[in-house]
Every structure is written in C-alpha cells, then in structure tokens.
Symmetry: C2
C-alpha cells in the first residue's frame, strides 16, 4: 500500500482527494498497488467532509511518518509551501504540486534536492491546469530542439477578452461579471496584470531551454488597457486579441520571455481558444507546431494533472523519472526585450492627413484605417526600441499599441 | 553506446535517420549515452545518401546482431513488418513503429510478446503523426476514466474538405490537386474511404478502453459523397464538415467506434483544425475535454514521434515503460452501430410542402431549409435505425445525411 498526504484542502486539494477516491480502482490498477490518503494538512477542520478525520494541523505529523512516501502540495503561495516541499524531499518523499509560484521561484533548488535524494518533484498541474504540457514537452518532444512556446496561460483573462469580443462590453464590466461567476478573484491583479502568466512562462521556458528565468524580471503587460475599440479593430483585421505568454531563443542564444496582449491571426489555432480555456503552442525543429488545449484551471481538471504525476511516480521506479534539472539563468542568459522584433498594431490620435508623415517615419503602413480621428496601422517588423522611437518621432498621442504574434 | 536499426528507408525512415543525426547532441544528452544507427534495412541501395553505407538487405543481419537493442520499424504494410517486429521482440530488442496497420491488427500480440521478453513496443507515431497522443493518454490522463475520443485522424481528407469549403471546389477537383501536391496518393482509397482513420480509431479505442477492436469491423464511411452543397449548407448553419474517427463507451459498457463525416459545431475546437493538420479531442471524467493538435503526417513530424519513443526507451529501464497490454475485444464487446444515437443533417429531394409530412415523421425539424427543390433539416437525437426507418417512411429520395458530432 502506498500512503500519500495532501497539503492544503482547498479547491485543488479537495479535487485531488476526489480524483483519488472516485477513480480509485483504475488508479490502483495502473499503479499496481493500493493507494491510501493518510493525511490531509490544513489549518481548518472539515467536520462535514467524509475525509475530515484525515485532517491534521501539524506538518511534522506527515514529515515524520516514514509510511508517507508521496506528498501532493496544493497550498498555494510561496511559504510555507516551499519550506514544506523542501522538507519532504529531504526526507525522501516525492512531491507533486500545482503551485506555480513555488515552481517558478524555487524550482531549480527543489529539483536538485529531489535528485540528490533519489525522489521526484513533479509539477504538471502548475501550467495549463488539466492540459498535459510539462510531461509532453519533456518526453514527447524529447527528439526536438524547442524553438518557442506561446500560450494562453490564464483562464480569467481569456474569459474577459472573449466576452469583450462577443458582447462588446468593456473590460471593467466583464471583470465584474467574471468576479460574480467566480472566474476572477476579488483582487484580480495577479491575473489581469499578467503576473500569473509570467510565472507559467518561466516554467515553460525552463522546460524548453533548460534555464529558469527570474519571474520578477519577465516583461509583463496585462489586459487592463485593452478596449473594445481594440478588439473590434482586431476582429475587423482578422485577428483575435489574446494575453500571450511567449518565450523563444533569440538569435544570440539568449532567452526571451514576455507576457503581453497580442493580435493572433485567425489562421493560428491559438486564436480559437476562448473562454476560460488555455492553449499552448510549441514550435520545435522537427515536429513543427503542436498545440495543447483544454481547461487551464478548475478543481477536477487541475487535480487530474496532480494525480497523473502521482500515478507516474507510484507506478515507476522514482529514480528513473526525476523531472529534468534545469539551472538558474544568469542575468546575461536573458534576452533584452528592446531587441525583440515583431509587427505591431499602432493606434494614434492623428488626422487622416498624418498618413504621409507616418509613412515616412514607419516605412510600410499595413491596412491603414482612419476612424473617429484615429489612425490605425500595422507596422513592419521593428524592435521594441524602434517602435517606441518612431511613435515618439511621429508626435501624435499613442492610443494603443498591440504586438502581433 | 546504444546501437539502433531502422527498418525501411522511405519517407519516415529517412526522417528518423535525419532526426537522430540532426538532433544527435540533445538526444544523447537526454538519453545519457551515445546513440548510433548501425543498420538501415531496405531492398534498395542509396548510393547518394551519407547513410548509404549502413543499408543492408538481409533482415537477419540486424536480428542476429546482439549489439542492436532497439529497432525502429517504418516499412509500412502488414508483412513483413509484423514478422520482423515479432522476431525483434522475441530476440529481446525493443521496437518502435509508425505502422498503424501492424499496431491496429497485431498490437495485442506484439505487446504481449514485448512484455514477456522484458522489452518495449511503442507506437506514438502510429496515430496523429507528430502529435503527442498515445503517451499522453497513457500517462497524463492516467487519473481519468476516458469517456470518448473524437479526432480528425487523416490529413489528406482534412485537406480536401478544407479546400472544398474555402474554394468551393468539388471533391474530384480538390482530390486531383491534392494528388499533384503529394498530399494524396495515386490510389487514395485508404484515405478517402476512411480506412486509414479506422485503423487509428482502433488504436485510440484500445488506449482508451483496453480492448482492441477488429479494424475490419469498424463502420466506416468516407468523404467521397460529400458535395459542396453539403459544406455550404453546413457553414451556413454554423458547422464545419470533418471526417471524424469517434469512439465511446456506450451505456451498456460496450465500445462504439466509427469513422464518418460529421458536422462539427464551430464552438468545438476540432472545427478549426484545417488543412493537413490533425486534432484529437479526448473527453475524460476528471479533466473534461483536452485537445491535441498538430501535423498528422509528414516526414519529420512523424519521425519526431518515432524518436521520442526511442528516447523514452533508451533513457529508462525498458521494463518499467512497457506500453499497456490491452486485450483483443470479443465480438460482444463492440457496440451495435444501429443503437448509436445522434442528430443528423438530412437533405431530401422533396418539395417545401413536404415539411408537414416530415414533421409528423421526424417530430422536431431544426433549422429547416428549402432551396433548389431540396428540403434540409437537422433531426432530433435518433438511433441509426430510427433515422433510416424515418427516411424510408418519408418516401423522398435521400440526397445526403451527415451525423452531428
């Protein structure tokens, strides 16, 4: 019998217990052994839960029980989740997690500790909820050099952007609706400012390129400034507006990673990923482009990924299944965002007569539009610095600028 | 050093050699050992290939070489591919393959032989080309009870259907164009009649439900009867027409599997899978719906999946990574197609005045249309038998009937 412990009996912790209970028979068949939840760590009591009797309040009960060989950490937040994870790994217990903050911030160290102790640290659920992405990148794309990863990594913002497009409602209106429905938190900053997506792109970049960037150093632009004028214009031009986490190796071998709203052409399968769903497009040198699509959050989907990691560890010799040990990126491993080249939709508060001046400054102006005193165009491929310089040079107030993917 | 052999130096065999050569450094880093192609089996000579000196014509050279521990079979066709695979497994060599015919027909036996000899038989490349699907179903969805799998499994037919929609050209015209471009074979029957998709849905059903159905028993309807009138009407009603391989557990626990054209609502992510791309949607009881999208065929994408299996085997203790052993389905494990329930688009050669009679027979008639002497409607949910009976009862010539997904 394999004894497991769950840290945190919130949404995902509860879901993990539910998956282990409801699909017990098929899980045990795959593992080839019986699986038992021995403890659930939480500060609260759960008198009405059928698993309430498993709740303990002292982490040391779990840490000091040699029968517990596998721990699922779903506490959220950096501390004490990191500290408990570290202690479990050092005690020879494998750990699986959905905690993107811990993985993005402390992943390198925790993977090293796991390897040193012959146990596993797995985090499929930390990116894309129930969508298989971490293991497919590690195993299924093992024969490829990964070139870039672009994804809709946050369900809350994707729900908001989808509603803005389909209902023509403003960001503020849709945000309130999302908060009512439980899709957005009372303090939505981590989602709408792109911080959640930034942590996830750090994890995906580490999987793709073997280097963990500092999550706080990721250039990050949220969706709070996106207007229905932007989404309407984008649709008219054949694009969807999506909050995209993007990472790629730049020509000089450094890693670029950023989170920002993007115009995604409708020919790109990511453009059709709507509502709270996530989609992650991986470009690799042999397979070309593959996309992984599904529920990027939610109780049971996320728990599905947590328990998949548990089954993987329980069913195998753990030592052969350690996640890849990436290293921490040095500051010089990170590409300068100012050198990043892309096309942009630029909207300026300018008269139609300004087109000639703008053409002289920007060169090519694609699909030029002039409505309501605003000039909109798609620029040629320019670096971030070049775009900013040219906008300044034009001398007209910038209404919005959205990069193309 | 790990010595491998390639059986068949055609498109995928050549691609496999290319992936192993071009990504040699990263593959060897993941495997933790050097990897060498020792032999390539083919009847032909390849004097202009840099690997031409590795070509042998006698399979026994490979079989009797104890240094060769891993064989990639990309010969195509049932024989001698099956016989060579069997011999390799019995000799204690692991085998990976892209050969869907061998896996769908002889998979059960070959998996058993692999298990008995402590080696692996893997076939990620047999479905969906470069798209990760077999291993994600086995490992990433291990915590789920799979409920259904629906996929665009054949790139040739998807290319044809996409062109029929975007260019309004007939099946015959687009087929000729696809043949010119190398997307369709001179004899396109296996693709356009759905036989290729039928083999793939057999493999996916075996992964999902643990039972291998007889590929020859799969109800299979191709796209040869689809007209631009069908695709135009579908688009007008908010659907795409796709050739879908579908499998599900029916209520009585039996397995339904079929290949047929389907109307896919545009809200379903599969509807946006166009051109030669494949997309596979898996419904499972915990994660909900996840979709895997990418290139369903082609030299390097398919080879990417072949080499992913090779890396998985080379990098691990083979015994811990045997593919799941499914069993052969008994005839009674297979659901009766006549009991399958779905809605259908029905087009009859009938006057507008027939609507009342049809309503009396079919009950609800959704989105009724009458153009060019044809009455089109979407039926209520009916079994296959019921639909056929009601169409016969109506007494008007059937122009077309397409099931909804």
């Amino acid at each position: 019998m394999i004894q497991v412990a769950i840290l945190g009996f919130g949404v995902v912790g509860g879901g993990t217990a539910e998956v282990l209970t409801q699909n017990k028979a098929l899980i045990e068949k795959k593992v080839g052994d019986s699986v038992n939840i021995k403890y659930i760590l939480d500060l609260r009591e759960f008198p009405n839960s059928p698993l309430g009797h498993l709740v303990v309040h002292d982490f040391n009960t779990i840490l000091s029980d040699p029968e517990v060989s596998l721990v699922a950490e779903m506490m959220g937040g950096a501390h004490p989740a990191y500290d408990f994870t570290r202690a479990c790994l050092e005690a020879g217990k494998s750990v699986v997690t959905s905690n993107k903050e811990v993985v993005a911030t402390f992943g390198t160290e925790l993977l090293e500790i796991a390897a040193a102790h012959g146990v596993s640290y797995m985090f499929e659920a930390s990116v894309g909820g129930g969508i298989p992405i971490i293991r497919p990148m590690r195993v299924d794309l093992a024969s490829n050099r990964i070139e870039s990863v672009s994804g809709i990594l946050n369900g809350t913002t994707n729900y908001i952007l989808t509603k803005m497009v389909t209902e023509g409602a403003s960001f503020e209106t849709v945000l309130k609706d999302a908060q009512k429905k439980g899709y957005a938190e009372a303090n939505p900053a981590a989602d709408v400012e792109g911080l959640d997506a930034a942590r996830k792109i750090v994890i995906l970049a580490a999987m793709a390129f073997g280097k963990r960037l500092d999550p706080n150093a990721i250039p990050c632009e949220g969706i709070t400034k996106i207007t229905t004028a932007d989404t309407d214009l984008a649709r008219e031009l054949g694009y969807a507006v999506k909050l995209i986490g993007h990472t790629e190796k730049s020509i000089d071998g450094r890693i670029l990673a950023m989170v920002s709203p993007r115009l995604v052409p409708i020919s790109n399968p990511i453009s059709g990923v709507n509502d709270v769903f996530n989609g992650i497009l991986v470009k690799a040198n042999m397979v070309g482009e593959v996309m992984f699509y599904g529920p990027g959050a939610g109780k049971l989907p996320t728990a599905s990924a947590v328990v998949a990691d548990m089954v993987d560890i329980m069913g195998h010799d753990a030592a052969s299944l350690r996640a890849p040990v990436w290293t921490d990126a040095a500051p010089e491993d990170m590409a300068d965002i100012n050198a990043y080249v892309c096309r942009s939709l630029v909207v300026l508060d300018a008269p139609a007569a300004a087109a000639d001046k703008l053409a002289a400054i920007f060169g090519e102006l694609n699909v030029l539009r002039h409505t309501e005193g605003r000039l909109s165009f798609i620029s040629a491929e320019l670096t971030e610095s070049e775009v900013c310089e040219k906008i300044a040079l034009a001398g007209y107030p910038l209404v919005s600028r959205i990069r193309l993917l």
